[in-house]
């Protein structure tokens, strides 16, 4: 697959502190790439290197197979985690300024801004000062400014912090639309719910090292435990549990159900298929619930960080 962005063993030191240690990532064209990691893992440093805010000590970064150059700034849209706007400047004027810094002409910027402002229903803010707006309102403007120059690579660092659920959804939809229109998105966060929803690729940073990366699907497959959540109605629950315990690893499960089920987590041994289990269960009672436990991104995150 064609990678729009490749970081090749990038390292960065701040004094004695190693912020990135030989980190390599490859972001496929058109993907939503989750850059994950606990606080202080080096996400922001890597993003700043991609944005040419800081220079790597070693390693290189390629955008569209070219080493990063000044003009690449126009191909990237960046919404930093630490974000704000000039408080005493008017919304429209400020958005125009930031758009022009990204290489748009004044007239084009104005036209696109009007469209976006209409889309997000913030048209009447044009002449307001930022200090008159709420934090969430200001975030909307930052989002517009980030995507206005229609960059091929968008980098969002914790984009949903500060948004209420309605606006967070609105922004999420816009992000998905941008991807449909051909943009690639890097998405740095430590909030796993949004990763689950949006990302198709992830890389996990921990203590300045990359400890995991790949397609989210593949990673999940790799981390699956062959455990199934089972709910069934049977006459003799105790007896069945004992029989199952002999054949499989069994634990209690917790899920919602309409019936008064026996709820269990059953882990298959190597070589056993889910069909075997299901067939066995159907002979013992009425199966109402049968569901493979897929590891959540959050589980994988916590597990890998702990193990490393």
């Amino acid at each position: 697959m064609n990678n729009i962005l490749v970081a090749d063993s990038v390292s960065k030191n701040f004094g004695d502190f190693r912020a990135l240690n030989q980190v390599s990532i490859a972001v496929p064209q058109g993907s939503i790439f989750g850059l994950l990691g606990p606080n202080g893992a080096g996400k922001t440093t890597l993003i700043r290197i991609i944005n040419q805010i800081t220079m790597p000590d070693s390693g290189r970064v390629l955008l569209d197979n070219e080493p990063l150059l000044a003009h690449h700034i126009q191909d990237i849209g960046y919404l930093p985690e630490e974000r704000g706007l000039y408080k005493s400047m008017k919304v429209g004027e400020q958005a125009l300024y930031l758009a022009q810094l990204k290489g748009l002409s004044r007239s084009v910027a104005k036209k696109r801004l009007k469209l976006w402002f209409e889309k997000l229903e913030i048209g009447d803010w044009w002449n307001k000062k930022i200090q008159e707006l709420s934090k969430g309102m200001a975030q909307k403007i930052q989002f517009v400014v980030t995507v206005l120059h229609e960059p091929k690579l968008l980098i969002f660092d914790e984009p949903f912090s500060g948004f209420d659920p309605i606006n967070a959804n609105l922004i999420k939809d816009e992000i998905l639309k941008l991807r449909e229109n051909g943009a690639t998105i890097i998405f740095a966060t430590h909030r796993m719910e949004s990763v689950e929803e949006l990302c198709d690729h992830i890389a996990l940073l921990h203590q300045s090292n990359k400890i995991l990366d790949g397609k989210l699907q593949d990673i999940k497959r790799q981390y699956k435990t062959n455990t199934f959540e089972v709910g069934l109605v049977t006459d003799n629950e105790q007896q069945l549990t004992n029989i199952l315990k002999e054949k499989f690893e069994v634990g209690p499960a917790d899920f919602k159900s309409l019936n008064d089920d026996l709820k269990l987590n059953i882990k298959l041994k190597n070589g056993e298929s889910s069909n075997d289990l299901l067939m066995f269960l159907t002979t013992k009672g009425q199966v109402n619930h049968f569901n493979e436990l897929v590891p959540s991104a959050s589980d994988i995150f916590i597990q890998t960080v702990k193990n490393s």
Partner: protein, 438 residues
């Protein structure tokens, strides 16, 4: 439009549209002129107050020495009454004070006996005018007692005004030096004020970008050095605009105020002119003006103008880049103090050297050395140039200034790059040194 000009434009427009800036720009000259007018008005009030000074002259030697004028009435008391009685009388009449001269034969004894009694401590100008007249009178008296002919002594007094001429034949006089000092002092002081006012403004604008957290958005599209230079240039242009408005508005107001308070101001100016004339021991007004004009004409004007521009810009850029670095290193304005001191010290030193040493000896060792050190050279050199500084010295000094300027901008940009993205870390000198290696 390229990034630098965009940044300059934004910095300039935000500065000049800022309410505080507009108010300062308009109000400052008004307040200044109003204060000036107030002082003029008050001092005219003050001097028009009539004072009565009683004189009890028991020696009989100073009768008729003091003549009453518009401001002070001298009231000679009857020499027969006692000092105690005289004091009581003066107090009940609420006179300003009592000058007492004792009854002695010997002039030295008379001099020692002179006293001034008053309710409050008397005005210094009054006392010194009394002293100078008494001194003169008693000196004459003593000379007469020694048998010296006063007339002959007067006639033999000789005034000297040394005509100065360089080996190249350039004539100059003391008034030349005063004009040169005025020019140099003005240029140096202007630079000093400009650096302090607008350097601070740059620093605050950097801090604002940090605290509003917009910096990372900006810095992902503009190089730090472009942002830094844009800030410095934009703020300077706003500063020049403000200065121009001050000069125009101030000049206009000054004209109006002088027209209204015409007479009192005129008097003040007359007094000043008189003082100047006395100080310079120059002939009457017209001639003095002529000399001043000549002195200005004699200045190396082209050199002065070019040097002013270059040293002003160089010095300003040098210091403002440091101000920007400070802004980048701290989180809020209260933390700036520890870093501001090392900047202000050379600046104040420059002004002191300029004021005290250059006047004394414009080409002496101290003045010359300080006019080469980049951190003091803009101010000191600007003060020296009116006295004629060899071009090579100016060039070397300028070269050093530009070199240092390039270094400080590099240094500032380095601090700036790292500092603008550092939050919450209390910057210390040790920390800053580490940043240089990032």
């Amino acid at each position: 439009m390229n990034h630098l000009s965009l940044v300059i434009k934004r910095e300039y427009l935000t500065k000049v549209r800022n309410k505080a800036f507009i108010i300062m720009t308009i109000l400052s000259p008004i307040i200044f002129i109003a204060l000036f007018a107030l002082v003029g008005y008050l001092s005219s009030l003050n001097s028009s107050k009539e004072r009565t000074v009683a004189i009890l002259d028991q020696s009989g030697q100073i009768s008729g020495l003091f003549e009453s004028n518009d401001n002070i009435t001298f009231n000679y008391l009857d020499a027969g009454i006692s000092l105690e009685k005289a004091k009581q009388d003066v107090e009940t009449r609420e006179d300003y004070g009592l000058l007492y001269v004792g009854d002695y034969e010997d002039v030295s004894d008379i001099a020692n006996s002179i006293k001034f009694y008053s309710e409050d401590s008397p005005s210094l100008t009054l006392i010194s005018s009394l002293e100078s007249k008494l001194e003169k009178k008693l000196t004459d008296l003593k000379l007469q007692q020694e048998g010296v002919d006063i007339e002959k002594l007067r006639a033999s007094e000789t005034k000297i005004d040394i005509a100065q001429e360089s080996f190249l034949g350039e004539k100059s006089s003391k008034i030349d030096n005063v004009v040169k000092l005025a020019f140099g002092g003005f240029a140096g002081y202007l630079l000093f004020m400009f650096i302090i006012i607008y350097g601070n403004m740059i620093m605050r604008s950097v801090i604002e970008e940090k605290t509003s957290r917009i910096i990372e958005i900006i810095i992902s599209s503009v190089k730090p050095i472009q942002l830094l230079m844009g800030k410095i240039i934009g703020t300077s242009l706003a500063g020049i605009t403000q200065f121009a408005i001050w000069v125009i508005l101030g000049g206009g107001l000054m004209l109006i105020v002088t027209a209204i308070f015409g007479i009192s101001m005129g008097e003040m100016q007359m007094e000043q002119q008189e003082m100047m004339q006395q100080a310079l021991e120059q002939p009457e007004g017209q001639m003095a003006m002529q000399t001043v004009m000549n002195a200005i004409y004699n200045l190396p004007l082209t050199n002065l103008f070019v040097a002013f521009l270059l040293f002003f810009i160089g010095g300003y850029l040098l210091y403002s880049s440091l101000y920007a670095a400070i802004g980048a290193a701290v989180d809020n304005e209260t933390d700036t103090q520890q870093f501001l001191m090392p900047i202000l010290i050379p600046l104040i030193l420059a002004v002191y050297v300029g004021v005290f040493t250059v006047i004394e000896d414009p080409h002496g060792t101290v003045s010359t050395v300080f006019s080469f050190i980049p951190f003091t050279s803009p101010v000191v050199m600007l003060m020296r140039i009116p006295f004629g500084v060899p071009i090579w010295q100016q060039l070397v000094s300028l070269l050093l200034l530009v070199g240092t300027f390039i270094f400080t901008v590099w240094f500032a940009a380095k601090i700036y790059r790292v500092g603008i993205l550092m939050y919450g870390k209390k910057a210390s000198y040790k920390e800053l040194f580490k940043w240089l290696k990032y």
